[in-house]
């Protein structure tokens, strides 16, 4: 069981997709990094916040039948790696679509859904998932 701050400190990433842009090479990273893996020392102190548009395309995906415990009631559910318009990739669930309609390269948009909960009496976790652009 994790304490509340572990989730709380990442609320801006989970709700709003706040990443960073390297002030040296303009590459975008999500989640935020202190150092640009490309520019390394040149980037130190130059990483600035950048909110992602939330739009992207599917790079690859799968349908999970053996879930993580928090997602039991979602089974089967779809996971995807999405390449965002900012040329950075994220892992998230793809919801509101049947698996047989999912295609590589399809356009998706971000939405905020329930990710799980600490316990039935604990904090509820919210964060990004993806939905198809219709």
């Amino acid at each position: 069981m994790m304490t509340i701050p572990r989730f709380w400190r990442e609320i801006r990433q989970r709700y709003k997709g706040v990443g960073v842009e390297c002030g040296n090479c303009e590459r975008v990273y999500f989640p935020p990094r202190e150092v640009c893996p490309h520019c390394r020392r040149e980037s130190i102190g130059k990483m600035k916040e950048r909110e992602l548009s939330g739009k992207g395309r599917l790079v690859t995906f799968t349908e999970i039948h053996e879930p993580m415990p928090d997602f039991k009631m979602m089974v089967p559910y779809i996971m995807a790696i999405v390449e965002m318009d900012e040329d950075v990739r994220m892992t998230g669930q793809l919801v509101d679509i049947d698996y047989d309609e999912v295609e590589q390269g399809m356009e998706v948009d971000v939405t905020i859904r329930r990710l799980g909960e600490e316990s039935p009496s604990g904090i509820i976790y919210y964060g990004y998932k993806f939905v198809p652009v219709r």
Binding site: K16, M73, M74, V95, I112, R113, R114, I124, Y126
Partner: protein, 354 residues
């Protein structure tokens, strides 16, 4: 009640989960003629949230779209009120989570409202007051619910999920709110006690002394104080716990089916409670033209009504698209599911862990 300063709607949007169940499917489980019940209630299907949806996620989706349509920034919002009777937390505001998601934190005031099905319109009135007094420039009012009827109860055929958000301000309006009235009494027609999963109700007592009396009373006050008549309005939206009541009250008050048609969503999505009138108003704004006048009356059990006299402005033309789907676009994405899947989605199945 008239504000000293011009106030109105700068942006709006609605969200309804895509899953649907029919009264027939529900009835089969309980040995009832669901199809006939559905016809009686004028409900073809009701919306169901997926297991990862709740009032918070619904509110956030509507709020994000409303901000997009309004063309303001999240940080320009000075107040957020979320009205619902199914807030995921008993203590811990939905409004703060919505505020964080739209980027409105930390310089705003926020709170959750509860007044059965009219908590969303109460939130609109609060924002009107704050804007008109000059305390804030923009406020967001949300009405959303993921209501549940107890399995087998009459409410199970109608209680559904959805919500809508409105940005209230005084400039750059897409619709002006000319006047608002309220009508409030202590009438215990429907309630849910703290800690209980499903609400209770007074059966037919929810009709005449509750829904009809309050909506009629509130609307009449608005007519009297503004001098308006049903003919002066192009559209009307009434609270819609089922498909029958709003038609009956509209006729009684002198409105036509054409006036209430665009805002009558309950036959397709069921009763979205706090989301019902906000979604009906949003759907009406989707089709209204500049100059059109809309009469709105919400009803909340317990009991009270809020009425609004709204005039659409030229601003609607620029803001209608803005990358935000119309209510029709949102609700036309329908996926019908079985009662078994519905029971799983709504945690009516005991996995032994919950």
């Amino acid at each position: 009640m008239k504000t000293n300063k011009k106030v109105g709607i700068k942006g709006y949007a609605g969200y309804v989960p895509r899953y649907r169940i029919t009264p027939k499917e529900i009835g089969e489980v309980w040995g009832k003629d669901g199809e006939r019940m559905g016809k009686g209630l004028n409900i073809i299907s009701k919306s169901i949230p997926s297991p990862d949806e709740d009032v918070i996620s619904i509110s956030i989706q509507a709020a994000k779209w409303a901000v997009m349509r309004s063309e303001i920034l999240g940080e320009d919002i000075g107040a957020i009120y979320v009205g619902s009777e199914s807030h995921p937390y008993a203590v811990k505001p939905t409004a703060t989570i919505v505020a964080a998601a739209v980027g409105a934190t930390p310089y705003l005031t926020a709170a959750d409202y509860e007044f059965a099905c009219k908590a969303g319109t109460a939130a609109i009135q609060t924002c009107m007051g704050l804007v008109a007094s000059g305390m804030i420039n923009n406020g967001m009012a949300i009405g959303a619910d993921t209501s549940q009827g107890a399995p087998g109860d009459a409410l199970e055929y109608s209680a559904s999920a959805g919500g809508a958000a409105f940005i209230i301000g005084s400039d750059d309006l897409l619709a002006e709110i000319n006047y608002t009235t309220s009508f409030t009494t202590d009438t215990p027609d429907f309630w849910r006690r703290e800690g209980k999963k499903y609400p209770s109700h007074g059966g037919r007592f929810t009709g005449q002394p509750a829904y009809f009396k309050h909506i009629a009373g509130c609307t009449q006050v608005l007519f009297e104080e503004t001098g308006a008549e049903p003919d002066d309005f192009d559209y009307a939206v009434f609270h819609q716990p089922n498909g029958k009541f709003p038609i009956k009250i509209a006729k009684k008050l002198g409105f036509t089916m054409e006036q209430i048609g665009p805002g009558l969503l309950v036959p397709r999505i069921g009763n979205t409670y706090s989301g019902a009138v906000p979604l009906g108003l949003a759907a009406t704004l989707d089709v209204a033209e500049p100059g059109d006048r809309i009469m709105v009356t919400a009803y909340g059990s317990g009991a009270g009504s809020d009425s609004f006299d709204i005039t659409v402005t030229d601003g609607i033309l620029d803001k209608r698209e803005n990358g935000v789907p119309s209510i029709e676009q949102v609700i036309s994405d329908e996926v019908f599911i079985s009662y078994a899947k519905y029971a799983k989605f709504r945690e009516k199945i005991d996995t032994g862990e919950w």
